[in-house]
């Protein structure tokens, strides 16, 4: 096989990688906001759940989480009498989102806590409810602070998608493995694969920068 013939299968895998990255980054961001806000919540139950979630998913390895969801969860379901067998794509997106969401939650918490105390006092003076303060005062000012870290996490997430090839999801790394088994041309295939991931990471970084610029106007004037 000529090296140009590797492109088509790799691009098929690249599409799966892109989809996985997009879905798990979006779900991860939702989880990050939920757990990040939960961790600074006055409600002890919400805070407890958020802390346990963050510690468990930051404290264990992503591959352990992925294998647990894919191999161990069905066994747990069997013991409980329910069918918890999930298709690889669900296990992959779930593990990636839960993992990146836990890292993102710490970013969200840090950014929320970086909003000055005077802002909260001003909101109270204006008779804002705690919910209004959170959504209209705290979060809009915290989001620009989160963006640089979110950019790093998005690239981290892109790299992490490569692990789903181990539960037989046909992403870019999986396709490359298939090609290597078929042709034994490791050097060419893996060089192409590395360059394709690098290209995707550069594009993703540029996109996150653009997003960062867009939200930077939410920053407090003069800050």
């Amino acid at each position: 096989m000529h090296w140009t013939e590797y492109f088509f299968p790799l691009l098929q895998g690249a599409w799966v990688t892109v989809q996985l990255t997009v879905y798990s980054t979006i779900f991860g961001a939702i989880l990050a906001f939920a757990a990040g806000v939960g961790k600074v919540s006055p409600n002890i139950l919400l805070r407890g759940i958020s802390i346990v979630y963050i510690e468990v998913f930051r404290g264990t390895s992503l591959l352990v989480q992925l294998f647990w969801l894919y191999f161990a969860l069905p066994v747990a379901g069997q013991a409980l009498g329910i069918d918890l067998r999930i298709p690889p794509v669900v296990a992959g997106v779930l593990a990636l989102s839960l993992n990146i969401g836990a890292y993102g939650a710490e970013v969200v918490r840090g950014a929320i806590q970086s909003v000055q105390q005077g802002q909260h006092e001003a909101a109270r003076a204006l008779n804002f409810s705690p919910r209004q303060t959170l959504t209209a005062v705290t979060i809009p000012q915290a989001v620009p602070e989160m963006m640089p870290s979110f950019g790093n996490l998005a690239v981290q997430n892109l790299k992490d998608t490569a692990l789903v090839s181990l539960i037989s999801l046909g992403d870019m790394t999986f396709r490359a493995e298939q090609l290597r088994n078929f042709t034994q041309d490791s050097t060419t295939i893996y060089s192409m694969l590395l360059l394709m991931y690098f290209g995707m990471a550069l594009i993703l970084t540029a996109m996150m920068r653009a997003l960062e610029l867009r939200v930077s106007r939410w920053r407090r004037a003069g800050a």
Binding site: G59, V64, S191
Partner: protein, 230 residues
């Protein structure tokens, strides 16, 4: 059976107890890979940091591209590359060594940034003061810069040590028998993945919680003003 060790599947608890020793063997491999990978990352990262700070753009620019490339590509792909491509150039390394090298390479891009940030945090007035005291550049580095940079660098490096530990399971793809791989083999042989994989997760959680507590302790004890000399 694994390495001739028997395990008892008659009940969940006895099963858990019977597989604990073999998981510990895997844990030991995980720790060894972590330490070796961390060592490679510390050495290579320093090299990148020095090259990136080089006055000549001909040296600094390639170093920047290399570290960006190492940072932006997945560990598992770098590992496959080393594992399958190095032998084609006549470099035959055991899987464990290849794995530790891949971990070190990936994290060297991160440690390079830690070194850079640590060195840059020391303001120009320190350099000026050293010059005013007529210290040679070497003495400035060993007696002014290093003692102040080390306390800033250590906590960040500790975080990467923990991150490396969490990435060791990736080495299982090139047949390294680290803890997750051992847990999975037990699952393959007994059709019970729940107990071994949950134990692997639990052991990881214990290790990272202990490590972060130790790092917090270390952080409070580090001399923030720099290491006192004599």
């Amino acid at each position: 059976m694994l390495f001739g060790l028997e395990w008892d599947t008659s009940g969940p608890l006895v099963f858990a107890v019977s597989i604990l020793p073999i998981l510990m063997v895997g844990l030991w491999v995980t720790i060894q890979a972590t330490v070796l990978g961390f060592f490679v990352a510390l050495v290579l990262g320093l090299l990148w940091a020095v090259l990136k700070a080089a006055p000549s753009r001909l040296i600094a620019w390639p170093a920047k591209v290399i570290t960006e490339f190492l940072r932006d590509t997945p560990l598992i792909v770098q590992l496959f590359f080393l594992y399958y491509v190095l032998p084609e150039f006549g470099i035959l390394l055991p899987a464990f060594m290849t794995g530790a090298l891949a971990l070190g390479l990936q994290y060297s891009a991160y440690t390079a940034e830690v070194y850079r940030a640590g060195l840059e945090a020391i303001g120009p007035d320190q350099h000026d003061a050293a010059r005013a005291l007529n210290l040679t550049p070497v003495r400035t580095f060993t007696h002014v810069i290093i003692p102040q940079a080390v306390p800033r660098i250590v906590p960040a490096m500790g975080n990467y040590l923990v991150s490396i530990m969490k990435d060791v399971p990736v080495l299982s793809v090139v047949t390294v028998l680290e803890m997750l791989n051992v847990g999975r083999i037990i699952g393959d042989r007994t059709f019970n993945y729940l107990i071994p994989l949950s134990m692997v997760g639990g052991l990881y959680l214990i290790m990272t919680l202990v490590a972060s507590a130790a790092l917090r302790q270390l952080d409070t004890r580090l001399p923030k003003q720099g290491i006192p000399l004599k």
